[in-house]
Amino acid sequence: MIELICASVLATVQDQGRFGSLKFGVGNSGAMDQLALAAGNLLLDNAVTDAAVELQVFPMRWRFHETTRFALTGADTRATLNGRPLPPWWVSRASRGDCLDLGRAVNGSRAYLCLPGGIDVPMVLGSRSTQLRGSFGGLDGRFLRQGDRFSAIRREDTGCVDIGVVPPVCSMPLGERGLTTVRVLPASEYACYHGASQAAFWACEWKITSQSDRYGYRLAGEPLLPKTPLEVRSHGIVPGVIQVPPDGQPIIQMRDAQPTGGYPKFGTVIEADLWRLGQAPIGTRLRFVEVTYDEAVAARAANQRWLQTVRRLVDVWAGRRLSA
């Protein structure tokens, strides 16, 4: 069992998301960096779909009330276990009473604390992800608070420790260093915008404003102007859709986005790059690169290959352990 010791905000329990309930008006939720969550789970021999704690405001402290393995992935938070530094994207073992401290995030903005078998919270509508608007899923459908305690689903656990992986931002870099770059497929209203706006969208750097969270990223930059005012009826949307409200400043829908929207759609950040957005800190800049559908599918396959590599590494380590 682990306990959140210091006051923290905006931490939630998330798995890969809640699927199949859009027809009830229930959005996806799920980890903002699904690749980091999946890798953390694989490092602990979990299913990629198991739940972890998503952390996005630091510093924070956790106490372990029993001996367990854990994995930390996502943003590098200069974590220490009882003062001993831990590498990022790493599996460690904590003993009863140990304190895990996470410092200010560098190289990203969200970290994932994974436990063997995942975090033990009830499954609601097929997922353990927190549904904030509906107040269900995760821990009572809310952000974590000081004193919250969690158990791992798998209590007896003897797997590998002190193993890790190279983060995907290093093995799958994209664009200039220090400038988050994501690939975009144009969406249905793209052609309705002025050529100058289309050109500016690809050429400019977009600031991620402070009004950005798990629901969506509001960007600031050159306003995107339609040739004529657009009327769009409410329709389903998915995380990654870039909507343009009348002020011309785009909003990227993120994991807690509503399942429907009514603003014109300029493009969609491809599924394979949503994790990059999930790690882009507020106040930094963002760049869009246009891709074709086939390139978007290839990028998705590249992510799956990367996860396959993690899976193989963990198997190799487990095998060494057995033969040692």
């Binding site: 859009l22 969406a187 329709h235 491809i270 978007a296 599918v297």
Partner: protein, 236 residues
């Protein structure tokens, strides 16, 4: 003759299937949209299409919107050519789909109009020129069909509002509108199912619970159901 757009740069993956527009929402979803006036007949065809293609192995979920349908793909088509094949199959399914009358239940929602629970009814009066009682009479007269669910858990998009009480959305949204707020946004009306932000004009309040994740069917209403607003009181 269908104009199929080429997948060159600057063009979204799209197929113009006669009347149905099919576009990509990235690689994970597709949007099928019926252009033209919003209406119940195209919506009944959308319901039929959702039912027909919802069980295709490729389709993880078919989600009706307002005269449109979003399809969540279990696995994206492996290439642009495959995407076009799927779009073509969807277009054929649309052409074969017959309006589906869902014969939903009629659900009565008792509403207290105006007062504390309807803080913007004065704005609707000012915009439309109608008095309080007229607005209540016009708003509570129709049977409103549930077209689709969306926005937040249990929320229903309704058709059938009398355009005489249409009122533009508010310039700045209300940040924490309580659950059960009955409101008007443009030509649409709806009832919020849980507290949250809204840009619509709130004219009344109902006590109904629209969503409970513990129920076997968590949403109270589904497409095809009909809502009748029953005047429980009018406060000025």
């Amino acid at each position: 003759m269908n104009a199929v757009q080429d997948m060159t740069r600057h063009l979204p993956p799209a197929i113009d299937g006669g009347k149905l527009q099919i576009t990509a929402l990235g690689t994970s979803a597709m949007l099928l949209d019926v252009p033209g006036e919003l209406g119940l007949l195209p919506q009944q065809k959308i319901w039929a299409l959702a039912r027909a293609v919802g069980c295709w192995p490729r389709i993880a979920e078919a989600v009706p919107g307002m005269n449109n349908l979003m399809l969540i793909l279990s696995e994206p088509p492996s290439s642009h050519a495959e995407w076009l094949n799927l779009a073509e199959a969807l277009r054929r399914a649309w052409e074969e789909s017959e309006p589906l009358s869902l014969d939903g239940r009629v659900v009565d929602l008792p509403v207290i109009y105006g007062g504390e629970g309807g803080p913007h009814i004065a704005d609707v009066m000012a915009h439309t020129g109608y008095g309080l009682e007229d607005i209540v009479a016009i708003h509570s007269a129709p049977l409103y069909p549930v077209y689709a669910l969306g926005s937040h858990p249990g929320y229903c998009y309704l058709g059938g509002m009398d355009p005489r009480i249409a009122t533009p959305r508010r310039k700045s949204p209300i940040l924490d509108l309580p659950a059960g707020s009955v409101s008007i946004g443009g030509v649409q009306t709806g009832v919020s199912a849980s507290a949250g932000p809204s840009g619509w004009n709130t004219i009344g309040r109902t006590e109904m619970t629209f969503f409970d994740h513990r129920r076997p069917s968590p949403a109270l209403l589904q497409p095809g159901d009909l809502i009748r607003f029953h005047v429980q009181g009018i406060e000025s």
